[in-house]
Symmetry: C2
């Protein structure tokens, strides 16, 4: 492998610079490379103009061993990546009959034919190889020169990912450019702030000279990465260090790798062959959505009710009207009644509930926007807890969802086995 | 204003390159600039190392009039932006007592004190001005040299956005670097593929010489941007062109600017002073979540039920057991019964329902994973429709949610006024 391996990615597309689209390709490619022990060195985001792409390409091609471009291979006038790259490398763009045949075949499946606009996608710079696009029209393209590799990928997410996994990864492996293990070992924590976490782990980690440690904080979760570092610790050593961290962290340890909180909750429920239902007010469906994003969720998530108004809380969840009148809909009492009500309705041993002021309107001096009560129902009892997230509507929904899931996670972890 | 104005953004953070975090800052900054008539020219994503930041900074500073960095102003060892910039500009890093006082004041509110680690945030390159951070510790920093501006922003989203809006925008306006109108006029369409849309609009748009047109396709939605272009069309002319497009598109026209589909649905319901409820199976809460993300949703969205299993469909939604036995849970009949049931439960004149196979398991030869039925209930009747999205679980949920919302949007648009 050429040392050091340097990977540069050029993302093209005006929409990425005009605040119209998130760059999900960088997240995807970064994750793919890290899984194979290598890392992206730099990413450059430019618009659709040939000049901008050409400048970015010249730099990347001079500095990196692997250059990947995303976008700009489609049929419209602002698709310019092939044109820019061919110009920069001094190559002609040739019409390719094999590409034409593949595109025509793909379109036929959808009952369409190749029109003049679409023919733009049949050109490729001379000397480039074609990477088959199994789910769309524009193929990926591959070019090697002086041990450097240039890979052109189309912009639609599904097409980019299919070509990357079907063609790019196998070729990079064959060229000996990837490792057999990930770049680092990582674990997730929950409910402990970054500074406290770092202080807690410092004595455990400092004793391993040369170990690389990095923290990444999200809303209420901090991820920790352990890199082999300059002293090149073995994978087994990293795993041993991780074990020590897990012991020290106790309940604050969420899991190894990219396990998510809802995944973890569903696994813990599976361990008890138990199921969960949810009653949502201020989270408005996000709690159910977060759980149902996990494949197989239906085995341990029975469902839920989203109800904003009091009548529905009374009718659908059996919340006593007297409670609503006496304590208000945003109260510990109502959170408890909602959790108990939905557990009964769905016949689940466990339930979660949320009620609060997500804003921007509503709330009061004693209970400003951001005040949330979450309720937890289990075979052993019912509880409610008051939280405060002085933030935007969306963040309040996310943090309340996270807090509810983290609560049941901790309870399921420590509960006596049934 | 220096012509041409060139804006470069440098995003720092290993997590952006390691597949651990989406770069939401570029989306935000791009949108902010476009609203003020200017555009980001280029964005560069680098890791945390001083060397990588310094190289990226040298290039950007040589080419752009405005350089913005995001991230790397925090207290930990991998926060290196100030260090890299000071080195590149040959400036010293000085301890600043005003910054210290501001940070201490902020921490006191949360019952914390400034520790040695936190003091790293009190240093600033000499000659830099401080931009107050109203929601966190690390301040933003501003430096001007030869009519070029360098702006350092902290990585946490809330802090970056607060400083940008409180301090950066006002200063850029004062310096005459922003316009009074957005860069372009845009509108959204729904339910029409990009190639058909482009073909439909071509004769309308080609007659305006020099008009800039760009398309951006999402899952089932295409956005169209109209730029003043080289012939510098006036805003009024752009608005007139947009009107022509709207007429030609009919129902496929969703709205002007960044209005979203759920926003549009809630507005149409408001126009009828009517409300909506939802019964979700395969979308698992995403439909409710999408609606409740809109501020004020509770006025026209009553709530919903997420139910995966048949018992709950029978008990909570009153779906007849015979229907489930005869047609199965994934059927037009059950979609209709779910929509009618939830409308009755929540006493809403309108309702939507979803039932389908989101995968990865389930489905059959006749109804593979991706088969979804959506139901629509209105004062004028009940209908169901069969759709097929041969994609991943998450995309199936999103497209089914989108299809349901687009259905009610079209019906509300064309329904007789009540």
């Amino acid at each position: 492998m050429p040392a050091p391996l340097r990977i540069a990615v050029i993302h093209t597309g005006d929409e990425l610079l005009l605040g119209l689209q998130l760059n999900r390709h960088l997240l995807y490619l970064g994750e793919q490379f890290v899984r194979h022990g290598v890392q992206i060195d730099q990413a450059i985001v430019v618009g659709d103009s040939i000049a901008a792409i050409t400048t970015a390409f010249h730099r990347a091609w001079a500095e990196a061993n692997i250059v990947i471009t995303t976008g700009g291979l489609g049929p419209t006038l602002d698709d310019n990546t092939k044109e820019a790259v061919a110009e920069a490398l001094g190559l002609s763009l040739d019409y390719d009959l094999d590409i034409e045949a593949n595109i025509a075949q793909h379109l036929a499946k959808e009952g369409q034919t190749l029109n003049d606009l679409g023919k733009k996608q049949c050109y490729k710079p001379s000397g480039f190889e074609t990477l088959k696009n199994p789910v769309g029209t524009a193929p990926g393209l591959w070019f090697t020169q002086n041990n450097r590799h240039l890979i052109l990928l189309p912009g639609p997410t599904q097409e980019l990912q299919a070509i990357f996994e079907d063609s790019v990864l196998p070729r990079l492996k064959q060229a000996g450019l990837l490792e057999n293990k990930p770049s680092f070992l990582s674990f997730k924590t929950a409910g402990i702030p970054e500074v406290e976490l770092a202080a807690l782990l410092k004595p455990l980690l400092d004793s391993h000279a040369g170990l690389g440690v990095a923290y990444c904080a999200h809303l209420d979760q901090v991820d920790v990465r352990l890199h082999p570092g300059p002293s090149n610790l073995s994978w087994a050593q990293l795993e041993k260090i991780l074990e020590t961290c897990q012991k020290a962290l106790g309940e604050d340890f969420l899991g190894v790798g990219d396990i998510s909180l809802p995944q973890n909750v569903l696994q813990l429920l599976q361990g008890k062959t138990a199921s969960l239902s949810v009653a949502e007010s201020c989270t408005g469906g996000l709690l159910a959505h977060t759980l149902t994003d996990i494949p197989g969720a239906s085995k341990h998530f029975a469902g839920g009710v989203v109800c904003y108004n009091n009548d529905m809380k009374i009718e659908l969840l059996g919340v006593p009207e007297a409670l609503l009148l006496q304590h208000g809909a945003v109260s510990a009492e109502v959170a408890v009644a909602m959790a108990a009500g939905v557990a009964e309705r769905f016949s689940t041993p466990y339930a979660l509930s949320t009620t609060g002021f997500a804003g921007p309107e509503g709330g009061s001096a004693e209970m400003p926007v951001g005040t949330v009560f979450i309720g937890y129902y289990a075979p052993t009892g019912i509880w409610a807890r008051r939280l405060y997230f002085p933030q935007s509507r969306r963040i309040i929904k996310e943090r309340a969802t996270y807090a509810a899931l983290d609560w049941i996670r901790r309870e399921l972890l420590t509960e006596n086995p049934n």
